[in-house]
């Protein structure tokens, strides 16, 4: 019987995902109401539960797709994959205030470049602190601290070894997970409560998944503004890191 059940769940993977995510969210909102008296937002709890499940999924299967590597939960991978994520992000733009976009557009653009530089520098300096001395490794790790896509793109462009590339992906993943979980906690402290600061936030953080989840857990109304700038960040990072930033690092360390 268990086999039949698992077969049905696996065959209808996306539907299974809808049901499972629905249960996670229902449970999280219940916890939010009962345990935290509404102080911690239900979606923040749901995202954290998702990450915890992803951890156990990873430990159990040894795969890289969190809980989606468990066969009957593979639909989570489709539901939470880039295709539907981007589709839903675009849908959040419906009803966006164009005036807000225009007003903060300039600062949003500055924040993207500044965001890439800040994260890159943080990663590069720590790489040096941990004993790396060659420009290729330092640049790749710095790029990984930008996002987990900029890291491997940069690494393969300038010829980093695969363990350094893996390290850069890990740095980017840490960043993205931290943004997901910490944004609602620091939102008030950093004034993240209006479209304009959300635009700047998206540009500075850059990790689309981190920004998407972090803002969802803070205030869903801010999502489109942050997502808008965040989607340009990886492109800018892939432009700057293997070129100017690599040459700069090379000039400094060699």
């Amino acid at each position: 019987m268990t086999e039949t059940l698992i077969a049905v769940l696996s065959k209808n993977a996306l539907i299974t995902a809808f049901a499972v995510v629905g249960i996670i969210i229902w449970l999280s909102y219940w916890l939010s109401d009962r345990i935290s008296a509404g102080r911690i937002h239900g979606s923040a709890i749901a995202i954290t539960v998702g990450l915890v499940l992803a951890y156990f999924g990873g430990v159990q299967t040894g795969g890289s797709k969190g809980i989606a590597d468990i066969q009957w939960l593979s639909g989570i991978g489709l539901m939470g994959g880039g295709m539907l994520r981007d589709f839903a992000i675009v849908a959040t733009a419906y009803g966006v205030d164009l005036k807000e976009l225009k007003r903060a557009g300039g600062r949003g653009a500055i924040s993207i470049v500044l965001g890439v530089l800040i994260s890159f520098t943080a990663g590069a300096v720590l790489a040096v602190a941990f004993g790396y001395r060659d420009a290729i490794s330092i640049t790749t790790i710095g790029a990984g601290a930008a996002t987990y896509i900029v890291g491997p793109v940069t690494g393969s462009a300038i010829g980093a070894t695969s363990d350094i590339i893996a390290l850069s992906v890990a740095a980017g993943l840490v960043k993205s997970i931290l943004v997901m979980t910490c944004t609602p906690l620091v939102a008030r402290l950093i004034g993240l409560n209006n479209p304009s600061s959300a635009l700047v936030f998206g540009g500075l953080m850059g990790t689309t998944s981190g920004v998407a989840a972090g803002l969802a857990a803070t205030d869903p109304k801010l999502v489109p503004y942050g997502a808008m700038t965040a989607t340009f960040y990886t492109g800018v990072g892939c432009l700057l890191a293997p070129s100017i930033l690599y040459l700069l690092v090379k000039a400094i360390v060699e």
């Binding site: 979606s43 539907l84 839903a88 675009v90 492109g235």
Partner: protein, 126 residues
Amino acid sequence: MIIYGVALLGVCLLVGVFLGELLGQIIGVKANVGGVGISMLLLIFLSHWRPIKEKLADGAASGVLFWNAMYIPIVVAMAAKQNVVGALSGGWLAISAGVTAVVLSFALVPILSKASDDPRSLSDEG
């Protein structure tokens, strides 16, 4: 009809991502440059365009609003498929690089959003 809204979303995403790919090729990077951002702008502009606006008012908007509402569940699924083990297996360098990058970026948010003006003081400016 709901499908008009869903199709509008789909067309916006496809066109935006396509343009993002082209933009990436033009500036010579192996990444999509702002594809989703372009899609969002497209949706904002198209939804104000007369013929589309009429269809949206005539029920098609539900197709957009459904996906808008599915956003948080999709993000929860996205969280559940993250490579959390991979992130932790990067060791202290990966963790400290990620933490430092995030802390510094968080700290810059209030500085940059207030740098040139206070958002509320400009609330009546076009």
